[in-house]
Symmetry: C2
Subunit: 297 residues, 2 copies
DNA sequence: ATGATTATTCGAAAAAATCTGATAAATATT
DNA sequence: AATATTTATCAGATTTTTTCGAATAATCAT
């Protein structure tokens, strides 16, 4: 890494660029012009290029200075926001956890996975966003999210900054209404030949695994629907549109009402649930709780 | 404004939060743990709230600390980008001007307005983006643009940070193909009653002015087309789709080829061209040139 | 219990920032 | 044209901040 930038110097540079002159900036800062001028010289010396050039008895930004000004603007705007945020009372009372939930994730699972955070002794306020995997990862990187729940780990390219934790894995089973179940029950899984089947959409990792499982056994079902949203898939299944896969977790919920029956296990296929967070040593307390709870199981 | 944040302290805080402990951070920074610990205490004292709490023999972030960490991440990431940018050779050679051009602005006018920047003694590299007015203003605020050209000034709400300069004003005239001109020439402007007319779309300020001009005179033309893009409007006009308004600037270009004739002046209506930039004393050299050139006319 | 690890406190030393006084260049004023 | 004012900068003394060394208290592993 480069030797560190002196933000105090940068702040003076910023003030001068905004005020239009060393004198004016010094007046605003409550300092002498000599000091400000000197400190900026130090900055220029440190970075090895001029930020201002003298023109007449005033200063003009160099190209480097102009670019630097853009960065300085953003940096000190963030600094001011930070101070405002810190000045806000009623901050330390509740712990905030901003989590993003991948839209391919079953909602009931999301609740289970987040549960350990809510069980903490402190008051926790949960902020949930739903969205596409890539978009959520982006928000994670820009630090507007603390945690992302998804059905896959972060891509290898992001391993430098993001860390993925396998929270849970769950066998997958096929369910159906009693009418359909009766017809396709015997001889499972080969009975699925030409059976009406509902599948998750292609951006769901489970989709690939299921197709592979079917291929391996030479089963060619009649795919009557693809669903991005697991809840929607479930609803269609409940109406008898077709057989459908669901994580074993949900088995009791699904068969409990009596409207749906279990056909069988999709052997060798399991759904996986990951938590993805920024890679750092000191994790968010709530994130820690979620990961540790998963490890202990 | 609040008393200033010490970015050196914040940097230590950031290092500790990332490294996971004072000791580890100190080692990475090449300093003693005492120093780092002490400087962070100063920061906490300054902002008046704890960022870490001791847990066991380690540290845990408080809620305030967690929020601060998010800001620190962004701040120091920008700082590193700034340093990388400054380390880049071949920077001072050419002056970059990133300008956004509102999509309702005639392209030929945009060139005229930017011309003074290209006439500078320095080498200038122009980066042009086209887009909706609001979007461009947003990019201006986030400092990814130096300048926006539009047909209106920045809204009053943004007057604090943005400054608008009237670059030019230009009377508006009505043009048409010879065939149409012959028919609607005499008795202008009242001859426009039920005449086929091409107009700019509603997000163009000129549109409102033209309608007002027509209303005032009780003229109800037959509006055969609305165009967001001025060039497209011009092309349709050239093909004889209808009479069309254009800035007087372009009069000689338009009538020069002989394919189009001037019908008359739209009295009291003029198109205005504004440059909008971030409000600061030390402007971009190229922006200065553009504004000064306009003032001198 | 003992030894190792971690954060913190205190005072001295080192480094950095700031001020006072003075100089040079450019512009404005007379 | 001569003079005064404004602007940036230089040099040295002074103040403030940062840093380190030594010592202490708390926690964890063995």
């Amino acid at each position: 890494m480069l030797s560190d930038l002196n933000y105090k110097h940068l702040h003076y540079f910023w003030a001068v660029a905004r005020a239009g002159s060393v004198t004016a900036a010094a007046r605003q800062l409550g300092m002498t012009a000599q000091t400000v001028s000197g400190q900026i010289s130090r900055l220029e010396q440190h970075i090895g290029r001029a930020l201002f050039t003298q023109q007449g008895r005033g200063l003009v930004l160099t190209e480097a200075g102009r670019m630097a000004l853009g960065y300085a603007d953003r940096i000190f705007q963030l600094g001011e926001e930070l101070q405002e945020m810190l000045a806000d009372e009623q901050l330390d009372h509740t712990l905030r956890l901003s989590s993003g939930i991948s839209d391919v994730l079953p909602k009931s699972i999301a609740y289970r996975l987040l549960q350990p955070a809510l069980a903490l002794p402190q008051r926790v306020r949960l902020h949930c966003t739903e969205g596409a995997f890539d978009q959520l990862l982006h928000e994670l990187s820009s630090h507007s999210l603390d945690l992302v729940l998804a059905d896959r780990p972060a891509p290898a390219a992001a391993q430098q900054t993001l860390q993925s934790y396998l929270l849970a894995r769950c066998p997958v089973m096929i369910f159906a209404t009693p009418a359909l179940a009766e017809r396709y029950q015997s001889g499972f899984p080969h009975s699925l030949q030409r059976a009406p089947l509902l599948l998750p959409s292609r951006d769901n990792v489970l989709r690939g695994q299921l197709e592979h499982w079917l291929d391996e056994r030479g089963i060619r079902p009649d795919i009557v629907g693809e669903f991005k949203d697991g809840a929607l898939l479930h609803t269609f299944g409940e109406q008898g549109a077709g057989l459908f896969p669901a994580p074993a977790f949900a088995a009791s919920d699904i068969t409990g009402s009596g409207k749906l029956c279990l056909l069988g296990l999709v052997e060798g296929v399991e759904e996986q649930y990951y938590a993805i967070a920024n890679r750092r040593k000191l994790q968010h307390t709530a994130v820690q709780a979620i990961i540790q709870h998963a490890e202990s199981e």
